[in-house]
């Protein structure tokens, strides 16, 4: 885990909103290249605030964020936003262009990619999420599950170092949920997944972090964390009724 330049390194990150409410109280975490990590935590734990720091939408009050060795600063924002692919919870917020093609092209085009190279990136990203056929459709004509996957494609087209997903499984029906899981598993990229959906975390992520009260309260194998009822209860996390973490993987 302590490779030369991990995908993400956050140290002593503290942040207070302009109105004085402090949300982060010194977050420390490191995510190695190629890891898939779940960030768990109750509502109001500061998950979204932390995510906003990862690509510099919010600026740290104290501490630092580094993406593949590059610190998040005003002058590095452009490169940081290429390296960190943020997938928002509501795909309607993320898909703002008139067609899927333009939407997936938006990110790389902002990086200066043009012409055939741009077209290639768009096709490649849509292949990765298994939706090469929707390229000319308007986003609002897609199903919710398709929109979520296209949202993933929009950031994959930027060839990010790390993919950050905010509640990726919310509002998905079981089939869409499985399809998205297959897509995420197939990707060769570091993933940080913010979620309440503990079974989904177990299914996709070897390692989990619990963010609670603005600090990392637990960090370890997902199986161990989900197998500790006391720990979960202390941070308002609950497994679905009847769900038991098996000793052996599925």
């Amino acid at each position: 885990m302590t490779t030369v330049s991990p995908s993400l390194r956050v140290s002593e990150l503290a942040y207070a909103y302009p109105d004085g409410t402090q949300a982060l109280f010194g977050v420390d975490l490191t995510i190695g290249r190629g890891e898939r990590v779940a960030l768990l935590g109750p509502n109001g734990a500061g998950k979204t605030t932390l995510v906003m720091h990862l690509n510099g939408i919010l600026t740290a009050g104290h501490g630092s964020v580094e993406v593949a060795g590059l610190p998040v600063r005003k002058d590095t924002l452009g490169e940081i936003r290429r390296r960190v692919g943020l997938v928002f919870q509501d795909p309607d917020d993320q898909l703002f262009m008139p067609t899927v093609r333009e939407d997936v092209a938006f990110g790389p085009a902002n990086l200066g990619v043009r012409g055939p190279e741009l077209e290639l990136r768009v096709k490649e990203a849509l292949e990765l999420v298994g939706l090469p056929d929707v390229i000319d459709r308007p986003p609002h004509h897609l199903s919710f599950g398709q929109r979520r996957r296209v949202a993933v494609a929009t950031v994959l087209a930027m060839r990010p170092e790390i993919l950050v997903l905010d509640e990726p499984s919310s509002n998905l029906d079981p089939a869409s949920r499985r399809e998205l899981a297959e897509v995420l598993r197939s990707l060769d990229v570091t993933v940080l997944m913010v979620t309440h959906d503990l079974p989904y975390a177990l299914e996709l992520c070897e390692r989990s972090l619990i963010l609670s009260g603005g600090v990392i309260a637990a960090d370890g194998p997902t199986r161990d964390i989900l197998g500790d009822p006391g720990l979960l209860a202390a941070h308002r996390l609950e497994l679905p009724y009847g769900f038991v973490v098996a000793d052996r993987p599925y």
Partner: protein
């Protein structure tokens, strides 16, 4: 102009009219409308020619008359107004079928009806043969202020999302037995409007964040800037040119 009508505005097709680059079609339709408005109302035949021109475009674009007529309902309020003009107009009166009507009013009614109808027909044809996003692309290629084009783009993208939210709020109101019947219910409607604004605004903020996250720096990347061939321009110019010739003829006649 209801939400439900939205997807019926455009009729997919692969005709010459559909294929014309949008940056040629937009000015052609606008020029046609200007020529129509500038035609003296006394020259009846000129308006007949205009109608025939539009009918020709419609048949080339395979837009059926029934489609046109349905969409022209939008004009009804002004038909009502135009019909009233001969009755309430001033000046010399003429007897028509036992009614005393204002001659000037009759002329005005004819003028408004003819020109408004032709204008509406031209707009309907434009919308029927041009996808909304192509229309935006046309505006962009015509070098209209990019901020304005972008606002329109975001508006069109989120119009359905917001109308949907509004519909859900109405369903929620009605399922709790609320129906807006008189003034006392206004505060409830206004609260819905307020809530809708907050949702729209917050969504705007989230969209902005999503844009920033993908490297937006204040200007939209231009991705498909294609120029139209001289041939396309010439084809598109057929409609306004024919109309202009008619108008010139009508000016010299009147």
């Amino acid at each position: 102009m209801g939400a439900g009508h939205r997807h019926q505005l455009y009729r997919p097709g692969n005709t010459v009219v559909h294929r014309l680059p949008p940056q040629c079609k937009l000015p052609a339709v606008a020029a046609f409308a200007v020529v129509v408005v500038a035609t003296p109302r006394e020259v009846f035949w000129a308006f007949g020619v205009y109608a025939l021109l539009l009918a020709a475009v419609a048949s080339v674009a395979r837009v059926p008359a029934s489609f046109m007529l349905r969409r022209m309902v939008i004009e009804v309020p002004f038909v009502v107004f135009a019909v009233a003009l001969p009755v309430i107009g001033l000046g010399e009166r003429v007897e028509v079928l036992g009614l005393s009507l204002s001659a000037q009013g009759l002329w005005a009614a004819w003028n408004i009806l003819a020109k408004a109808t032709l204008g509406v027909m031209a707009s309907i044809l434009l919308a029927a043969t041009t996808e909304p996003r192509m229309m935006l692309l046309g505006a962009q290629r015509l070098r209209l202020p990019s901020l304005l084009v972008q606002i329109a783009m975001f508006m069109l993208r989120y119009m359905d999302v917001i109308l949907d939210e509004m519909r859900r709020m109405r369903v929620a109101r009605e399922s709790r037995g609320f129906a807006a019947r008189d003034v006392r219910h206004l505060p409830v409607l206004a609260k819905s409007a307020g809530a809708l604004f907050i949702r729209s605004y917050e969504r705007g903020e989230r969209v902005h964040l999503a844009m920033l996250s993908r490297g937006y720096n204040g200007s939209m990347p231009i991705m498909n800037d294609a120029t139209a061939s001289a041939r396309s321009w010439a084809t598109a110019a057929l409609l306004p040119a024919a109309a202009l010739a008619t108008a010139v003829l009508s000016w010299s006649v009147s």
